[in-house]
């Protein structure tokens, strides 16, 4: 630490101060010792992306901007959960609620804004939430778990994103909006109508011109009462009616405040050593809530703090995009009607496309796009430039930058046609020219590189496609679009994205997935169809109709195909146990059907090989009569549960390992999984059942049960990792089922448990199963629910000649 460093204290740890610090560390890394006080107990995350977290399309980890390492690397002291209660401008110190005092040379106030809560009766009831930070999202998700109805007050950007997110979480949602059309600040009535129609079609109930009079309920929210007497029963109320700059602290410190903390173009407050950026700021009478101007403020403030006062913040237009998956909506500038204004309108009702441009004289001053927003950036740059548009250009203006007489638009031509100044990333104010020169100067080859060097596409992400097109335009074939490995040649999407979108878009059939996610082939291939069939089955138990024709032959006929086209048959031996009746029946079957080969498998079962396809129903029928069912030795499903004899017989046995193995197998049999799953239970650490190389293993010890996961003894050999230790048999069953369900939820098709564990990390699995009791219980219950639909013996269904009889018979044409 150098003695010459000045002290910079930052109050608030949101996106704007984060950007100020990034600028400082870039321009003058040794100038300041930085201390941050954050009222939230966490690091800096991308608040714009809370909506995808609410809808389940992203996780908190994915939206972190600065992880703990960033603060450590830059020598920043971060006080998490410290709300500042006092600024003493004479002593030049600030003090936090827990009592930490820090001295400053320069102070940055970035206290953001508070949600506005309408002070109607009942607004203080538990269940009335705002939508500002991760805590609010977590509270909403908590309520959403038990379903019910949410009422969202406010049909603006935030309210609608909240509504869509809660709908995706399975709640019924009603939006109450005071004005006649939705998002009236960003959309004209026509686009507002289209949006209302789209959201209504998705199942969100929308009431416009609805004035909330009271929130009903005794000790929690039970409903809302409208002015017109309507009562709506609900379990949660989200207030999304606007924000108020959080200026209390600055006001108490005697700084000049109006609607917000007043600043000049250098982001300086009335005290020259105190600066302010973000939603708490008022500049020339304007307050800001969108990210682009806030990042611009932050960049300028950072430069000023480094001694560079060349640039000034100036008020400019902002553009808006709604982050609701599947709704394309863009607006920018001013689009109110006026005598001196003209408009150009394009409608394609059947495609749901609406575009409206507003001109004043020969200048474009506003644009509203719905359904097709590809040209948004181009229109926005025209609005900001204010360049005159001549009569000829005006004729084709609405068709965007690459109007060429009707040919289909090539995205590469579209970006090639943009001028260098055209803004690509609205959030960060990054132009096409900046991105291209960064690609050149830094030798960038992928999206992550562009994000790291220019920040383009790193905030709301809606410009990702444009940035990718720029990379492709600049690099040609050297650019590989997808760092994520795609599922197969039929799609560019990876397994995780497909799984996420199946849930988020509620896709419930293979044709729906292929249609909605833009499959490139008419009906997929032998790689993606079995994967999609599994994902749909695992995601929608009891709802999805299994598509037999998308299953591999073994799972279609419930036996293993052999090299000569015959099949092998393995009945279940619960926990590896058998008895004389079963053995006698097996011997009879082997004789009756002249089965040529019989062997013991490595999983303590009996395998009969060389069974002709047409004999399968007969073999199954005889095995069923002796009480035996399918062992699923052919499926991506639960295979065997290997056991030792445990405390029942063994002088070293500590618990009833055989009994637990049988209980596990009875609970899990019939479940479909991303890949095969093998279990074992050993009665003591001598581990005779070899539990430590299984997908899930249990090793019994005197004091309980060690739960192991992620072993392998095939192409790769890998010892298991210990998930945790539990005390009772009931817990062992619950934990094992929760592991299996988490794997069913997250695994990629044909990814064994050990590969899944390596991909997501053991700690993440422990967090969700060992440390989170509620989550584990929910996983366990979901597993048991799914099992209700899968525990029918497939052999019994086919032995009687009922199901899929055609599979087992040849056709006989007469000649």
């Amino acid at each position: 630490m150098s003695a010459t460093k000045q002290k910079l204290v930052v109050i608030g740890n949101g996106m704007a101060p984060g950007r100020v610090l990034e600028t400082i560390f870039e321009e003058a890394p040794d100038k300041y010792d930085v201390t941050i006080f954050n009222a939230e107990p966490r690091v800096n995350y991308n608040r714009i992306m809370l909506s995808p977290v609410l809808s389940g399309e992203q996780s908190y980890d994915e939206i972190i901007i600065h992880g703990d390492a960033w603060y450590a690397d830059n020598g920043v002291t971060l006080h998490k959960g410290h709300k500042v209660v006092e600024i003493d401008r004479d002593a030049k110190t600030v003090t936090s609620e827990p009592g930490v005092t820090a001295a400053y040379d320069k102070l940055l106030i970035a206290t953001g804004s508070n949600p506005f809560i309408i002070p109607i009766p009942g607004h203080g009831l538990p269940g009335v939430l705002a939508y500002r930070d991760l805590d609010d999202v977590n509270k909403m998700l908590d309520v959403a778990k038990s379903g019910g109805r949410a009422v969202v007050i406010g049909g603006g950007l935030l309210g609608l994103e909240a509504a869509a997110g809660l709908l995706a979480q399975g709640m019924d949602v009603t939006v109450l909006h005071l004005m006649p059309t939705l998002m009236e600040r960003q959309l004209d009535p026509a686009a507002g109508y289209l949006l209302e129609k789209e959201l209504t079609g998705r199942g969100i109930e929308i009431r416009t011109e609805a004035n909330t009079k009271e929130i009903l309920g005794d000790d929690k929210v039970e409903g809302v009462l409208l002015d017109d007497g309507t009562e709506i029963a609900c379990d949660m109320v989200i207030m999304a009616v606007g924000i108020r700059p959080n200026l209390a602290l600055a006001g108490e410190a005697g700084l000049e405040v109006g609607r917000g903390v007043k600043v000049d173009g250098a982001m300086r407050t009335s005290d020259p050593d105190v600066f302010s950026v973000g939603e708490c700021v008022e500049f020339e009478g304007n307050c800001y809530g969108l990210v682009a101007p806030l990042y611009e403020q932050a960049r300028i403030c950072g430069k000023v703090l480094c001694g560079d006062e060349e640039e000034c913040f100036v008020h400019s237009e902002s553009s808006t995009k709604l982050k609701v998956t599947g709704v394309d909506l863009f607006s920018a500038g001013d689009f109110a009607d006026g005598d001196d204004r003209e408009e150009i309108v394009f409608r394609d009702a059947s495609r749901g496309v609406y575009k409206r441009l507003i001109l004043e004289g020969d200048k474009l001053i506003g644009a509203v796009l719905y359904g097709d927003t590809a040209d948004g950036a181009w229109f926005f740059s025209k609005i900001k430039d204010g360049e005159p548009i001549d009569a000829e250009a005006r004729d084709t203006l609405i068709f965007g930058p690459n109007f060429s007489g009707g040919a289909a638009l090539d995205p590469l031509e579209a970006v090639a046609a943009l001028p260098d100044e055209a803004e690509i990333c609205g959030c960060n104010g990054i132009s096409k020219g900046k991105i291209l020169s960064a690609i050149d100067a830094e030798g960038l080859t992928d999206l992550d590189g562009v994000r790291a060097c220019t920040k383009a596409s790193s905030s709301c992400g809606t410009c990702t496609g444009l940035v990718e097109s720029l990379l492709a335009f600049k690099l040609g074939d050297a650019f590989e679009k997808n760092a994520v490995k795609s599922m197969c040649g039929c799609t560019d999407l990876g397994h995780s994205e497909v799984r996420r979108l199946i849930v988020a878009k509620k896709l419930k059939s293979i044709p729906a997935v292929m249609q909605e996610l833009g499959w490139k082939t008419s009906c997929g291939c032998a790689k993606c169809r079995p994967a999609l069939n599994y994902y749909l089955l695992a995601t929608w138990p009891g709802e999805y109709n299994d598509d037999n024709q998308s299953r591999f032959i073994n799972e279609r006929v419930h036996a293993n195909i052999q090299k000569d086209g015959t099949y092998s048959v393995v009945p279940r031996a619960w926990g590896g146990m058998t008895n004389s009746d079963e053995l006698r029946a097996l011997a009879d079957v082997i004789d009756k059907f002249k089965i040529p080969t019989v062997k013991y498998t490595g999983g303590q079962r009996i395998d009969m090989l060389g069974v002709k396809k047409e004999d399968l129903p007969g073999v199954w029928s005889d095995l069923n009569k002796a009480g035996m069912v399918s062992g699923h030795a052919y499926g991506k499903s639960l295979r065997t549960v290997k056991t030792c004899v445990g405390s029942e017989w063994c002088r070293f046995g500590t618990q009833d390992s055989t009994g637990l193995g049988i209980k596990l197998e009875k609970m899990m049999w019939g479940s479909w999984t991303p890949h095969k799953v093998k279990l074992a239970v050993s009665g003591c650490p001598r581990n005779c059942a070899e539990a430590t190389c299984k997908d899930i293993g249990v090793v019994c010890v005197d004091s309980g049960y060690e739960i192991h996961i992620g072993g392998a003894a095939g192409m790769e050999v890998r010892g298991t990792d210990i998930l945790c230790k539990v005390e009772t048999e009931a817990e062992a069953l619950e934990y094992c089922a929760a592991v299996l369900q988490l794997y069913r939820d997250q695994g990629h098709y044909l990814e064994r448990i050990y590969k899944w564990e390596v991909r997501v990390g053991l700690e993440k699995i422990q967090e969700q199963i060992v440390e989170d009791d509620d989550n584990r219980l929910a996983l366990y219950e979901r597993f048991l629910f799914a099992q209700k639909f899968s525990q029918n013996d497939p052999w019994a269904e086919r032995a009687s000649g009922g199901v899929d009889a055609h599979e087992f018979k040849s056709l006989v044409p007469a000649e």
């Binding site: 009906c523 037999n548 024709q549 998308s550 195909i561 090299k563 086209g565 055609h806 056709l811 000649e815």
Partner: protein
């Protein structure tokens, strides 16, 4: 529909509905087993039921567009040409087929 009588020298194999959509059935002919496929777009194709690679039963494969993936080692055979797709080289015999009044007819070598 009664019986499986030859119509001219076409074999009267089965009802279209006897074959699952994106699936196949098989029958024995004088020259060996023939697989008859029904695609997602309701076309019917007949080819030898032996993969040119290791004789896998193609009728047991997953059917996608006008191809079938062999269940043994994932070769993809084009139903229209009988040729292996992609990097694999090999070919199976194809037979003319048609649908008349809901019946599937296949012309074998006889």
């Amino acid at each position: 529909m009664d019986g499986m009588q030859p119509i001219e020298n076409w074999l009267n194999v089965c009802d279209l509905e006897d074959i699952p959509v994106r699936g196949a059935r098989r029958f024995q002919s004088a020259t060996g087993e023939i697989a008859v496929f029904r695609t997602g777009s309701q076309e019917v194709y007949a080819i030898d039921n032996r993969c040119p690679h290791k004789s896998g039963p193609l009728s047991e494969g997953i059917v996608h567009d006008t191809g079938v993936t062999c269940p043994l080692h994932n070769w993809v055979i084009d139903l229209q040409t009988g040729q292996a797709r992609g990097a694999d080289e090999g070919c199976v015999r194809t037979y003319p087929s048609k649908i008349i009044e809901g019946r599937v007819l296949v012309k074998t070598a006889l």
